[in-house]
Subunit: 214 residues, 4 copies
C-alpha cells in the first residue's frame, strides 16, 4: 500500500489545487525545456529557513543544496563521495548558474553543536561531530570568547561559517576561474528566523549588513 | 557594499510583505522554542522540485536535505566528512523526526548523468561522476535494457535510486533500531515535474503508485 | 572680549528663537523647581550619538554622563577623583532616578583603540590607553578572534563594554540595593549610527535585540 | 526580553520618524567617514543643560564630555583611570578639535554640594564630595563671603569652576602646545536655565558677558 504521512498528503492536495493549478504551464515548460536557474543556493536543512520561502521563489528559479550548517568543504579531488562538491559541480558546470549564495541562519543547531565541544556524539558514528569539525578552528576561537553571550558566539560562528564556505568555493578551479571572468558571483546571506531580517555579506569586508530595501 | 542578485531581493521583499507578515507569530515562536519538524525529506537540488512547494509546507514543518539525485550513501563510520549522514543523524537523533521521505523526481540531471557512461566529466574533479557512482551497478543494468525507451530507463533509475537510498538508510543503526520500534517510518515518493503527479512507494512491493486523493 | 566659535553662536540663536521660545515655561519651571529626571544615561562623547537626539528628549528628561566608551569603572571607595562614580552617586542618591541606561554605539573610537594594542599612545600620558584598559581582558579575547571581521570584533567589544559597565554598576552598594528593592532598573542599549537602529539588551541573556516598535 | 523605559521608546520612535528620517544621509555619511567635530564641549550632566539643545547642534558637530560640575582635573599622568583626561586626549589628539568650550550653568547641584560643607555624604563612598573637592579652596572662600546671597555665591562658584577647568586644561601639554600654536582655542560659557541666557567668558578678564547677538 502506498503511504505517506497525512500532513504531506494534505499539503500535496493543496499544492495541486493551488500553486500547480496556477502555474501548470510553467511546470510543463520547465519539464520540456529543462531547468535553467540563474542562482544556486547553499543552505541549511533547518525547517525554518527554506530558501524558496525566504526568496519567494517559484519553480525553476533556485538550484538548492541543503546540508547541516550550509557548509562547503574545501576542494578535494579524491575518490570519496562528495555530495556538496557534486552539487556545486553540477550547478556551475552543467547549469551554468550566474550566482551562488551561501545562506546561513540564526539558531542553527549544527553551529550550536560545533560550539559545544563537551556534547556527547549524537550516535556512535558521530557524523555531525565530524561534519562540523570542518569549522573547528573557528569554533574553538569563538568558544573561548567568554565575554560574548551564547547567542553572540552562535551568531559569530554562523557568519564565520558562511565566509568559510565562500572561501572554500574559491578553492574549486571552476568557481575561481568563472568568478575571475565575471561570469559567476559569490554571495553570503544570513537569515534571522525570529524577525525575518536578511543580512547580506559585504564582499569587501565580509561583514553582514541589512540591504537597502527601497 | 552588501549585494544580492536583484531577483532575490525582490523575492525577499515579497516574503516580508507576504508570508512573513502573515506568519510572523509562527516564525517568532519557532525561533524561541526551536524547530520540531515531524518529517525529514531527502530530495534533489533540482530547481523544479522544492519539497516545501510540493507539500505546501510552512516554516517548521520539513527538515530538508538536498543533494544531487537525493542519494543516501551507505553507513560508513570513518573519518571522512559525510554531509548526508550528518544531516540524517541530526534529523533522527536530535530532532527525532517520525518520518523520512526520500523524494525523487522526473528528468533528474544527476540520474541522466549516471545513465550516460560516455559523457566527459563536468570538471577534472569529476565530483558528479563519483557521487552518482553510488548507483553505478543499477545504472549499468538499466543502461543495457535496450528494449526500454530513454525515458523509461531514466524513470526506472530514478525509482531504483529511491529504493537504494531507503535501503541505505536502514544500514544506519539509529534508523533501523527506531524503525524496528515503530518510532520512525521510511517512505519513498517520486514527483513528475510536468504533470505535478506525485507517485508514492508501496512499502510491500517497492512499486510506485498514485496515492488515493480523497 | 567674550567669544565663542561662530557655529555655536549661530546654533544658540536658533535655540533661543526655536526650542527655548517654544518651551520657555518648561525651562523656567525646571529652574524654579529643580530637575527630577526619571532616567540617567551613561553614553559616549561621540558627536554622532547624542542621547537627547536619539531619545528625542526635552529639557529635564535625561541626566547624562558622557565619557569615552560609556564605561563605568568598578566601585572603588578610595581617595581618588572618580568623575563617573560621582555622577552615578548624584543621579541615584540625590536625583533618585528610576532607570540607568548604558548606551554604546557603533564605530566607537574608544573601543577601536582598545582593540588596537599596537597603536602608539595619543600622548605621553596615554590617558585613553589607561581608561580603555578597564576592558582590556575582554579586548584581548576579542582581538584574538581572527575569524571575525574587524567590524564584528568592534561590535562585539562595544556590546561587551555595555554589559561590563552594567555589571560594574551593580558593584555600587546604592545601585544593587535599590535594584534589589525594585526601585532602580538597569538597561543596556546600542545605537547604530548608520541606520539609526537601536538595539536593546535582553536582561536575561545579555543579548542585544531590536525592540518591538509597534 | 529586551526592555527600555517607555518614555525612551516613545522618544526613539519620534527620532526615527523625525530627525533620523530627515537626516539619514548625514548619519550614513558620518558613519562611513567618521566624525570630525570642530568643537569639544565639557558640560555638566544636568538634565536641563544639554549642549546639543543649547547650541542646536546636529549629528557630528559636538564632541561632548559630561560630568558633574563640568570639571577638568589637573594633568596627572599616573596609573589611575582618568575619564575626563581620556576624553580630552581623544578630542584633542585624535579628533583634533579646534575649540574646547567649558560650559557651566545656573542652579548646578554639584556646585551647591561643594558650597555646603555641612551636608552628609550622599553614600559611604562620598564620590560627589571627593569629586567636588577639586574646587574646595575656591568653595571655602566663596562660602565665607557672607555678604553675598546664596544665589550669588552659587553663581560665583559656577563661574570660578569654569575658569578653574580652563586653567587645568592648560596643564595638559597637548592643550597648551596647540593653543600656543593657535590651533586650539579655549572658551568658557555659562547657561541660565531659567531665562535661556548664555553668558560667555571674556578671555582677557575672565568675566562672563552676554555675547553680541546680531
Amino acid at each position: 500500500m502506498p503511504h505517506l504521512p497525512d500532513h504531506l498528503l494534505t499539503g500535496y492536495r493543496n499544492f495541486m489545487s493551488g500553486r500547480y493549478l496556477a502555474e501548470s504551464g510553467r511546470y510543463r515548460s520547465l519539464a520540456r525545456e529543462g531547468q535553467s536557474p540563474e542562482t544556486m543556493i547553499i543552505a541549511c536543512c533547518d525547517s525554518r529557513a527554506a530558501p524558496e520561502a525566504i526568496f519567494d521563489a517559484g519553480p525553476g528559479e533556485l538550484f538548492v543544496l541543503r546540508n547541516v550548517g550550509n557548509l562547503v568543504p574545501p576542494y578535494a579531488p579524491d575518490d570519496q563521495f562528495h555530495s556538496t562538491s557534486a552539487a556545486l559541480e553540477f550547478g556551475v558546470q552543467s547549469l551554468k548558474v550566474k550566482n551562488i549564495v551561501v545562506m546561513g541562519h540564526g539558531r542553527c543547531g549544527g553551529i550550536r553543536a560545533a560550539l559545544d565541544s563537551t556534547a556527547a556524539p549524537l550516535s556512535p558514528g558521530d557524523f555531525i561531530g565530524k561534519w562540523m569539525s570542518l569549522i573547528a578552528p573557528a569554533a574553538e576561537t569563538v568558544s573561548s570568547s567568554t565575554f560574548m553571550t551564547a547567542t553572540e558566539r552562535q551568531t559569530a560562528l554562523e557568519r564565520i561559517s558562511i565566509r568559510y564556505s565562500i572561501a572554500n568555493l574559491r578553492t574549486f578551479p571552476c568557481v575561481s576561474i568563472l568568478e575571475g571572468k565575471g561570469r559567476l558571483s559569490l554571495h553570503g546571506a544570513w537569515f534571522d528566523i525570529s524577525t525575518g531580517e536578511l543580512w547580506v555579506m559585504n564582499k569587501d569586508t565580509g561583514d553582514f549588513e541589512r540591504p537597502e530595501m527601497t
